[in-house]
């Protein structure tokens, strides 16, 4: 008798990469790859989530992630509603708990939340029993769909997700993208290096299984994937770096450097990014760049996540 493998399930929420198994990661990627095809059709819409209601609760500024989730929901034929901080009762002092309860009372199937506080999605997930919660970025904590779309972009270009040498350059400390990618690539068994001055690449990164390099050249050597993280210049007063000129002199990624140190590497940047400070325009627009693929795959990965979470609740039509 043949034992059929247990079908992989996703859910009830997607709060982070932490908590996902390798099987779940592959399942999401495989599903996303199917949706990549949908996005190339002239009619980019499937009826999978017809009749489902998806709320985009974005309590922190965002363009690409919010738009990406909204398009993903619409291409699955779900009804997507956008709520942003400025137009919500949050401005009237409503607590997140009450906002979550109020929204759940309207029976949405999924609430996608972007919030400035780490753990906010986990907090509402504990409160809600009928609605799936998707983390679209919480404070400095996680941004799981970003890490998944990064991985899909890498897989498409390099034909593998492991073994890989991943190097992240920039403000790793205040980046939820960095955290999700660290967890994801450590799960895959990949070698992860962070490159930043010690003010940002704090020693505790080592305990997350990450190699720390303060020099760009040393860090880049042999990289398969280079990820450029936004230097949060609005926080310069936090004194993590002296100024952007010095930062860029030490850490700006250029084609010349990559050609020398990691000739086969691809480059990702979750954006927004500062050309000429974090990475050169030549890189962003050049052949190594996966920047465009990232945005494109963002829709497919988010379609996969929304689809699988709804399916986990027994509602989606496949």
């Amino acid at each position: 008798m043949i034992n059929k493998p247990e079908p992989v399930k996703i859910g009830p929420h997607l709060l982070g990469i932490a908590g996902l198994s390798l099987d779940q990661v592959h399942f999401i990627l495989d599903t996303a790859e199917q949706f990549v095809e949908v996005n190339t059709r002239s009619v980019k819409k499937v009826p999978s989530l017809r009749g489902k209601t998806i709320i985009n609760l974005f309590l922190e500024a965002s363009t690409r992630t919010r738009t990406s989730f909204e398009i993903a929901a619409k291409r699955l034929s779900a009804d997507a509603i956008n709520i942003s901080a400025g137009t919500s009762s949050v401005t009237k002092g409503e607590s997140l708990m009450d906002t979550a309860y109020t929204l759940q009372s309207m029976s949405p199937d999924v609430i996608i939340i972007r919030h400035g506080s780490s753990g906010a999605p986990h907090f509402i997930a504990k409160l809600l029993d009928k609605t799936a919660v998707v983390n679209a970025g919480d404070g400095l904590h996680e941004h799981p769909t970003q890490a998944l779309l990064d991985l899909l972009s890498i897989k498409q270009r390099l034909g593998r997700v492991t073994p890989l040498k991943l190097v992240m350059v920039g403000d790793v400390l205040r980046s939820r993208v960095a955290r999700s990618n660290i967890i994801l690539h450590r799960l895959l068994g990949n070698e992860v290096t962070v490159v930043a001055p010690p003010t940002l690449a704090m020693k505790h990164f080592e305990q997350l299984g990450v190699r720390i390099c303060h020099g760009l050249n040393e860090g880049l050597k042999g990289a398969d994937v280079v990820m450029s993280l936004r230097m949060k210049f609005e926080y310069l007063k936090d004194t993590f770096i002296p100024n952007l000129d010095e930062y860029s002199r030490l850490y700006c990624l250029t084609e010349e450097k990559l050609k020398e140190l990691a000739p086969e590497s691809v480059i990702l940047a979750p954006g927004p990014f500062y050309r000429g400070v974090e990475l050169s325009s030549e890189l962003v627009d050049g052949p190594r760049s996966l920047v465009g693929n990232q945005v494109e795959n963002g829709v497919a990965v988010r379609m996969a996540v929304l689809f699988l979470l709804s399916m986990g609740r027994g509602g989606a039509q496949s």
């Binding site: 932490a18 607590s95 997140l96 708990m97 919030h115 506080s117 780490s118 753990g119 906010a120 986990h122 907090f123 919480d138 404070g139 400095l140 904590h141 996680e142 400390l173 939820r176 955290r179 704090m202 505790h204 990164f205 305990q207 997350l208």
Partner: protein, 444 residues
């Protein structure tokens, strides 16, 4: 049974723990007219005429427990707690004396507020409440509060509570000024600039959770500073809620150097590590934060060796709404009056702390830290006593909780050990067997 205060009370059959005498043995204790009249071998007082017998076989009798660090929230935040509900939690937790922090609204920075607190404590009549006055006006660190006025009104120590005195000069002045009447400054030590806008300990876990962490050094630096200021001024510093191993090292050295410092540790800081905040558990968010395994071991060793003088609860009631929010927005603090005994006894059972040392850290040592009268198990002293049942299962829940708030990471946990009764001047103010309060404490 009901005991009548005008008759002698004979407490029999228990194990008496008197740290100052090195005594941990079966003794009978006779209480007459609210005072301890005798402590002697079992049976010694059996012939005393008309004595009512209170049998505490299998239980422990100690001097009344003292908590140097509680928040009673009155005046100003009575929805969290008031002096009466806080006093109920205190005596149910075995405490005969509590010292309440000045971060009320308005701040206890003048004699009138102090008098109000004392009056409300007398109205409640459950335990002795000793107010702590502010060091600076409105805890703002800008101008000294009238320390003599506060002292005369009944404040037993001074503190700006959650606000460390940021200015070294102000701290120096406060130490110098208060030294003229032997005042004690009880300080929350945190370099606020280094600490930043934190919500947990700084560590790999805070990095992973994306929460801003406070490094232990932010605490240690200020402890180091105030040791030096105590050294040059001769002032007396009491370090609140010490949470790092490094701080213990600094305090040990200061004591070896003869500098007048004392220190307290909170049960949760020797029980829980920072991992309790995993999954963004706001019930475990507090200031000082829960720290590393090594820090937990360090403060416990410091307590066992007497480098840390005493155990306080930092009972900090907060309404559920202030905890049912995003982690970084949640209020700091947990209630602790009723979990101090079981959490401390857990360390005794684990062999990390002797029973004698544990009792000393809850009775005589805190009294010494703040210069409170040495009541309790001394012949001729006021019979302020606590009977502890070390084997009593205890769960902090809706039924057992006496505080107005329920913010505790130990809520619903199976603990062992509880106060069986709390006695002030010979009167039972609380008895667990009947879960009854008797407001008979007339002095504060």
């Amino acid at each position: 049974m009901n005991y009548q205060s005008d008759k002698p009370l004979l407490i029999k059959g228990g194990t008496v723990v008197i740290p100052s005498a090195g005594l941990e043995d079966k003794r009978d204790v006779l209480v007459v007219d609210g005072q301890v009249a005798g402590i002697d071998r079992p049976g010694s007082f059996d012939s005393v005429d008309g004595a009512q017998t209170y049998d505490i076989s299998g239980k422990i009798l100690t001097s009344g427990l003292v908590d140097l660090h509680v928040h009673l929230r009155e005046p100003g935040q009575e929805w969290k707690e008031n002096i009466e509900t806080g006093a109920r939690a205190a005596v149910a937790g075995g405490f005969t004396d509590v010292c309440c922090m000045p971060n009320t609204k308005p701040t206890n920075d003048n004699g009138q507020i102090t008098s109000f607190i004392l009056q409300r404590a007398r109205d409640a009549g459950l335990c002795r409440v000793h107010p702590i006055g502010a060091i600076t006006h409105a805890q703002k660190g800008q101008e000294l509060a009238p320390l003599v006025e506060l002292h005369e009104a009944g404040c037993v120590a001074f503190s700006d509570d959650g606000y460390p005195v940021a200015s070294s000069l102000m701290m120096r002045r406060a130490l110098e000024y208060s030294s003229m009447f032997g005042g004690i400054l009880a300080v929350h030590e945190e370099d606020k600039i280094l600490a930043g806008d934190w919500s947990m300990n700084e560590s790999a876990l805070s990095l992973e959770m994306g929460l801003r962490g406070m490094p232990g050094a932010a605490e240690d630096i200020m402890i180091g500073r105030d040791i030096e200021l105590a050294r040059i001024t001769g002032g007396r510093v009491h370090f609140c809620h010490v949470s790092t191993r490094r701080a213990v090292t600094l305090i040990r050295r200061a004591k070896e150097d003869g500098i007048q410092v004392s220190a307290e540790v909170l049960p949760h800081n020797f029980t829980l590590t920072e991992s309790a905040v995993r999954d963004f558990n706001t019930a475990a968010k507090m200031s000082m934060p829960l720290r590393s395994d090594d820090d937990v071991d360090g403060v416990l060793e410091g307590l066992a060796q007497g480098v840390i003088d005493c155990i306080s609860s930092d009972h900090a009631p907060h309404e559920a709404d202030s905890k049912n929010v995003e982690f970084d927005k949640a209020s700091f603090g947990i209630i602790g009056l009723q979990t101090t005994i079981p959490l401390t006894l857990e360390k005794v059972r684990q062999g990390k702390l002797s029973l004698m040392r544990a009792i000393s850290a809850l009775t005589d040592d805190p009294r010494r830290c703040f210069g409170l009268p040495m009541t309790g198990l001394r012949v001729g002293a006021s019979a302020d006593l606590t009977v502890i049942d070390p084997l009593q299962p205890f769960v902090l829940n809706k039924q057992s909780n006496k505080s107005r708030s329920s913010n505790s990471p130990f809520w619903g946990c199976q603990l062992t050990g509880a106060a069986e009764s709390t006695i002030i001047a010979g009167n039972f103010v609380y008895r667990a067997s009947s879960d009854s309060f008797n407001p008979s404490c007339r002095t504060s």
